[in-house]
């Protein structure tokens, strides 16, 4: 029998580390359970970002979350990049390393987007083989996240949850269940998010992601720029019950509020961990006008790779 969370620790309620909060965190040492860092922001850094991460890793558990692995691409795996991931994981004692079930580019290019794969037997074999190679190389727990997506391929022969389940079983890897992404993709693809979550191998889920999104009525963009909405919290409640609780992380990547606001957002998760606790928080889903429509505005864009800007005197 497999252990819950594959036996990895439940780190509690964590926050995605963003440079706008560096000073606050170093000064105030907030009582946060753990931090997740965007790997690509730090693997090459020889300046303040790396220094700040060292300070944080001394005090808090850290998990590394990447956006450029491109596990689904037919380009070769980039072992120079993987070597850098491995070194940073050693330096920060990262609990595990994660990335997305996606591809980011081909022919040597990087679109810096999390692009969807067709859910076929051929894709499954390709991804499973690469995850196995990767795990052997990293020598550290590796987990894959379901991305938000905006299209489906006609070539797909299975549902996303079936693909994820078979991938995790065959490659023997952990899963990062992004509850908001389930909601976003389910809305965009006319799927049932509850079925998505119920169909996954729950003992393989070692981490949750939560985030806000932008609802343009006909579709939803995963913008990470707002509070988590009620329907996503309800899915979180389900996921929590099904898994018995796993490390939970809030991502906030645009219009980032002060750190206490971000921290308070993830602490709302406590409300959904028991069956008889208070009902959903007061974050109904705001609906935005689509760009081009009357009263519409420039469509928000998802930034999977948060930038750290230079500090110049």
């Amino acid at each position: 029998m497999r252990l819950p969370r594959l036996g990895y620790d439940n780190l509690g309620l964590g926050v995605g580390l963003r440079s706008t909060h560096f000073d606050y965190i170093l000064k105030n040492q907030p009582e946060v359970d753990w931090f997740e860092v965007i790997s690509e922001n730090f693997i090459d850094s020889q300046g303040r970002p790396r220094y700040v991460l060292q300070q944080i890793a001394e005090r808090y558990p850290v998990v590394m979350h990447g956006v450029s692995l491109s596990i689904g691409s037919t380009d070769p795996l980039d072992f120079e990049y993987l070597g850098k991931l491995k070194r940073l994981a050693r330096e920060t004692n990262a609990q595990w390393i994660s990335d997305h079930l996606c591809w980011t580019g081909i022919l040597g290019r990087n679109t810096h987007d999390l692009l969807p794969v067709p859910f076929t037997e051929a894709t499954l074999r390709h991804v499973v083989e690469r995850v196995r190679t990767l795990q052997d190389f990293l020598e550290r727990p590796f987990v894959l996240e379901n991305p938000s997506s905006y299209i489906t391929f006609q070539d797909s022969t299975m549902d996303e949850w079936e693909f994820i389940t078979r991938m995790a079983e065959e490659a023997d890897c952990g899963l990062l269940l992004d509850v908001n992404n389930v909601y976003v993709s389910s809305f965009n693809h006319d799927m049932d998010p509850d079925q998505f979550i119920r169909s996954l191998p729950h003992e393989r889920i070692v981490q949750f992601h939560l985030a806000g999104h932008a609802n343009y009525t006909k579709y939803i963009i995963d913008t990470h720029d707002n509070h988590v909405v009620d329907p996503v919290w309800e899915l979180y409640r389900t996921a929590h019950q099904l898994t018995g609780g796993v490390s939970t992380l809030l991502e906030w990547d645009a219009n980032i509020p002060p750190f206490p606001v971000v921290h308070a957002e993830v602490l709302k998760a406590k409300r959904f961990m028991g069956e008889h606790l208070e009902p959903a928080a007061a974050d109904p889903e705001p609906v935005l006008a689509a760009s081009g429509e009357e009263g519409g505005h420039h469509e928000a864009v998802f930034h999977p790779l948060h930038q750290i800007l230079a500090e110049v005197e």
Partner: protein, 301 residues
């Protein structure tokens, strides 16, 4: 080449998808581009043979989400690397240059931190020919943009590149205690974050003015005049130091690994000062540069 209806390999699907969503003319232009057609031959009206539609959106509308996001995301990133260049050009013109740049130099790195590394080169490569009435080699507005781009790129590089925070540096005491008779043969070891820049316009001065300009205010574009600047980093913040031509000549030699005497000779040659005046200047320069952490150590041959 895949024919319509034939099984498509993952490789073909990905090459096609990338060709479509990164096409400068959007999804329709992308689907009908030569590259996409070579991979999956279909008309724009047949897109749903590859991409499913949803209850609310057509396949083209759904692909459009990726296509719009591709340029929007990278343009935003470039703007954040080059905020003063964007101010100088205005948002629309900046976006036009950046859009062209992304087509010539698409990202090939796992990190966005390298996205702008060829922007100055691109501007130089696409620099318009000088007007007929201009003299050959005349410096103009395009050169200002190229220099400003180089400057902002270097600020980014110094910020996150190698530094000496927490490491010992050359102090005034150590320098003073160095035997005077061996000074000319000695070598000063610069910190790895020290960079020297030479511009055709007063870029550093413009950068300062543009940063301090209020909302809606514009810093005037300066007339061409040579400017020399040193960049370094202390306590993780990038510091800027305007240099005279003589200071630049001296530091350039030191960065090249030349002995101090040779570096001073280079400065003397262009300073126009007599030995006494230059000596006084040199003392002041070294005092400042040591205090600002330009050097790690001094070594004897």
């Amino acid at each position: 080449m895949s024919e319509r209806g034939a099984p498509r390999s993952l490789d073909v699907v990905q090459r096609w998808f990338q060709a479509v969503v990164t096409h400068p003319e959007g999804v329709e232009g992308g689907v009908e581009s030569e590259e996409a057609q070579r991979l999956i031959r279909l008309n724009r009206s047949e897109l749903e043979a590859v991409i499913g539609r949803s209850r609310n959106l057509t396949a083209a509308e759904r692909m459009g989400i990726y296509a719009n996001a591709y340029y929007a995301r990278l343009l935003e990133c470039l703007a954040s690397f080059f905020p003063i260049l964007q101010k100088a050009l205005g948002e629309e013109v900046f976006e036009g240059f950046a859009f062209e740049y992304l087509q010539h130099y698409p990202s090939k790195s796992y990190t966005l931190d390298r996205l702008g590394e060829s922007f100055a080169r691109f501007l130089a490569e696409t620099r318009p020919e000088p007007e007929q009435e201009e003299e050959p080699g005349a410096v103009g507005w395009p050169d200002f943009l190229i220099d400003l781009t180089l400057f902002e790129w270097n600020l980014n590089q110094v910020f996150d590149g190698p530094g000496v925070e927490g490491k010992p540096l050359l102090t005034a005491e150590l320098l003073q205690s160095f035997p005077a008779e061996r000074f000319a043969e000695a070598r000063l070891v610069p910190v790895p974050c020290l960079r020297l820049l030479a511009f055709r316009f007063p870029i550093n001065a413009y950068y300062t003015a543009a940063r301090h300009a209020g909302e809606g205010e514009e810093a005037p574009i300066p007339d061409p005049t040579p400017e020399y600047v040193a960049l370094t980093r202390r306590d993780f913040v990038v510091r800027r130091f305007p240099l005279t031509p003589a200071q630049h000549a001296l530091l350039e030699k030191i960065l090249a690994g030349a002995p101090v005497g040779e570096a001073i000779a280079a400065a003397a040659e262009i300073s126009g000062l007599d030995d006494e005046a230059l000596g006084a200047e040199l003392q002041a320069w070294f005092r400042l540069w040591v205090a600002e952490g330009f050097f790690q150590s001094i070594t004897s041959p």
